[in-house]
Symmetry: C2
Subunit: 340 residues, 2 copies
């Protein structure tokens, strides 16, 4: 890649079922020029998140319009400003933006947030202090409303969202049980993050493992996955249980939406399932940033990143994310991080 | 039946799937004597309600313990006091109780509520001014929270609960669409109760009928049935939709709980499903009684009863209730009603 060349990953075809690398195309294009009020950014980190699978399809209703075929895949980015035509940004600034899967992006200044590399590693803005962390914070506290002494179950427990949700539930005095996809993740969740227990969904029977790990049954289920975990949890909820439905990772690759669990336990236990989207909480970002920054500084929250090198590896890494191959918040290091 | 003989219907065997008449046994026993603080009642009306199916099984978790084999089937009753050893009741009083499927019952006085036959027909205490009406009132207003101009869909729309829920939603200024099981019920719901539309689920395609009847999509779904109606509704909910889950009539006879709908729309629309049980609202009964009595007196609420004659016909009528054969609130007239 020459100094004047941009690398971009385009959505070439809409995946059917599991995405394949051939659904993406890596192209080289000239580095764009920022216009009036715009900023040219060099991407340092690209965030990969399960929601992106939804953007690749156009056959179902989703939060947002699908990515267009032949255009750059969308995604959150942490970048350094190369050239600015916006009064609030200078070359050298670090910014959080939404430039997508490319090495250089041009953004309107208004859409960028400046990052202070002395406060936290700049990549954290894609994870624990960014959208995934805020999802964990508000979905758990607003919908889940965990009370001290209650039992909280978290699926995808070692992931970007689940790892934060479970730690916050511990801070609130709950018994916290994770569900994760392998032993290393379970070990991490219990030994590093301080969950009380973690169930390996690949090797353990969910129902009996939940029963053993939740002797007082389940008051809050932070659901990143839906599918069989939700089904097993519903059989063991307490009266008035709350289930923030944050993701349905188990079915993002499904060609037709699979049936859900039988809902009888909701009636019997007067429980609720409520869908959550972090965008609805933008106006309350300050609460989140205050609490999470403090907890990070006090060492009460731990955070793990899974860093993949090179934009060209983004498709492979993304496919692995939907299979649970990542371990921690998945980000792609697109270019050097001068702060580390 | 002689004057000293009681008739009782016992649960003889636990139904597998749809109940059969042979699951019940009609027996004659002596009329019991009331003890200290107790009251002997002659049953006038027995309420038949879908929840009773749950009490007949012991293989799944339910609100309450199952009816015991060989004992009188449970159920709400409107009766006349024959003999009282309780200071607050006199022979001749009309009372609401829970004497079950029998011609005479003995109750502790504390469990009875006196009825005033001048205020409303005494049988209404089993329906619109009783448990089904209160279910409609609180599930709609507390969980559904209908706002003027919103669209509310109600399943089992001509039934004891649905007919009240839909009329209250109309009083709140909503567009109300019912779903019912035949043309006569649909006619009644629209022409008598004033719903804006009603879908015949037996002859119409639910998805396209809902689309046509709900041009602004669906904000509240008052769910008495779950099953395919819930599935079709979920595809057409608006942002922030609320779904009180009040019954799962569609599956009460199922031998194994069927899968539920895919829950992706809950996430996309940040909607909620919440289970409801009227017993949780006992402390707020006064609000309900005030509003509904007023609306009845003002002619703003209409109410239809489906009266079956003779206790011996209760099993057949109950089986029909789960098949949707009744039309209006199903009650069994066990003995003469001196107020009509």
């Amino acid at each position: 890649m020459s100094n004047s060349t941009n690398q971009q990953i385009l959505l070439k075809s809409r995946p059917v079922g599991e995405p394949k690398e051939s659904d993406f195309a890596l192209v080289e294009t000239p580095i764009p020029e920022p216009g009036e009020g715009e900023v040219l950014n060099r991407t340092i980190y690209l965030s990969l998140d399960p929601y992106m699978r939804g953007r690749m399809s156009d056959d179902r209703e989703s939060y947002a319009s699908p990515a267009e075929l032949g255009s750059v895949m969308v995604g959150g980015t942490v970048s350094q400003v190369v050239k600015s035509n916006h009064p609030q940004f200078w070359a050298g600034d670090f910014v959080l933006g939404y430039d997508g899967w490319q090495a250089y992006g041009v953004s309107k200044g208004e859409t960028l947030r400046k990052l202070d590399p002395n406060q936290a590693p700049i990549s954290y803005a894609l994870g624990i202090t960014g959208m995934p962390g805020m999802t964990a914070y508000f979905a758990l506290l607003d919908i889940g409303q965990p009370q001290a002494g209650e039992t909280v179950v978290v699926s995808a427990a070692s992931g970007a969202v689940g790892s934060v949700a479970g730690q916050i539930a511990k801070l609130k005095g709950c018994r916290v049980v994770g569900v994760a996809g392998n032993e290393a993740k379970c070990d991490y969740v219990v030994k590093e993050l301080g969950f009380d227990a973690c169930i390996n969904r690949k090797t353990q029977d969910l129902s009996s493992a939940l029963k053993a790990a939740c002797p007082n049954r389940i008051d809050v289920y932070f659901d990143n996955t839906a599918g069989s975990i939700l089904e097993a949890v519903l059989q063991q909820i307490n009266l008035g249980a709350r289930i923030p439905l944050v993701g349905l990772i188990s079915q993002y690759n499904a060609e037709t939406p699979p049936p859900g669990p039988n809902l009888m336990p909701l009636l019997v236990k007067r429980a609720l399932i409520k869908g959550f989207l972090v965008g609805d909480y933008q106006h309350r970002q300050a609460e989140f940033v205050n609490d999470v920054s403090k907890w990070l500084q006090e060492g009460k929250l731990k955070y793990k990143e899974d860093v993949v090198d090179g934009l060209e590896n983004a498709p492979h890494a993304f496919i692995g994310l939907l299979q649970g191959r990542n371990f921690g918040k998945l980000i792609v290091k697109v270019s050097d991080d001068p702060t580390r």
